[in-house]
């Protein structure tokens, strides 16, 4: 399954962190280009329903936290 994230909404570093955090639950491959971040999920753990949704939520949480941190740093 491939998840496509817009770079204008999601932070690539946040997605790399999320891949590291969810590394034991599936095999994740991340590809970053100018506009999108593609994440391929293979061999997901059958014990966790909605794994990719949890993954996307975690990535969004980190993306927003990173964006806020960087905007606070610019003050």
């Amino acid at each position: 399954m491939t998840l496509m994230f817009s770079r204008s909404l999601y932070d690539p570093d946040a997605l790399r962190e999320t891949v590291a955090a969810y590394g034991e639950l599936a095999t994740w491959t991340i590809t970053v280009d100018d506009h999108t971040i593609a994440v391929v999920c293979t061999d997901p753990s059958p014990e966790i329903p909605d794994l990719t949704d949890h993954f996307a939520n975690h990535a969004l949480h980190l993306s927003i936290a990173n964006a806020r941190r960087s905007s606070e740093g610019n003050l």
Binding site: S6, L9, D50, A56, N57, L60, H61, S63, I64
Partner: protein
């Protein structure tokens, strides 16, 4: 004659929700809802539901909310979308206020942190009292009685 146009409630733009099983989706225009406000509202809903953001076109953000408990009640999904819209409006107001008062805040911070007063407020008050004491005393209370010729 004034040229004004009024918009009836039915003509006003409303959020259009698409529900599909456990999901509800709607598209927002960034000219009306700044990206920071959309992210702020999304952040508040991360613990309640799965939130996924997509960019279907320039200046457009599609928000997809999916229930965590597996329920697929269309009414509950519409309520969820409505609550998200309310949170979004709240975030838009916060963003606009922060934007309009940003310069004032920066000025206040700069003044508080980067100006060093010559004296502390207590020192300043004591100096003012000293100055007052040194001013001419009409009643000459400060002149000792002996020097004033009162002892002769």
């Amino acid at each position: 004659m004034s040229d004004t146009t009024t918009q009836s409630p039915s003509e006003m733009e409303e959020l259009v929700y698409d529900t599909d099983g456990r999901r509800v989706a709607f598209t927002l225009d960034e000219e009306l809802y700044p990206r920071e406000a959309i992210l702020g509202a999304a952040y508040l809903f991360l613990d309640r539901c799965f939130v996924f953001l997509e960019r279907p076109a320039d200046q457009k953000v599609q928000v997809r909310l999916k229930t965590k408990d597996g329920a697929s009640d269309p009414d509950a999904l519409e309520v969820l979308a409505g609550e998200f819209a309310n949170a979004l409006l709240d975030q838009v107001v916060r963003f606009r206020v922060a934007e309009s008062t940003g310069q004032l805040r920066e000025y206040a911070f700069a003044r508080a942190f980067f100006t060093t007063p010559a004296q502390s407020s207590i020192d300043q008050l004591l100096a003012e009292l000293d100055d007052e004491e040194l001013e001419e005393d009409d009643l000459e209370v400060a002149v000792p009685w002996e020097q004033d010729g009162g002892g002769q």
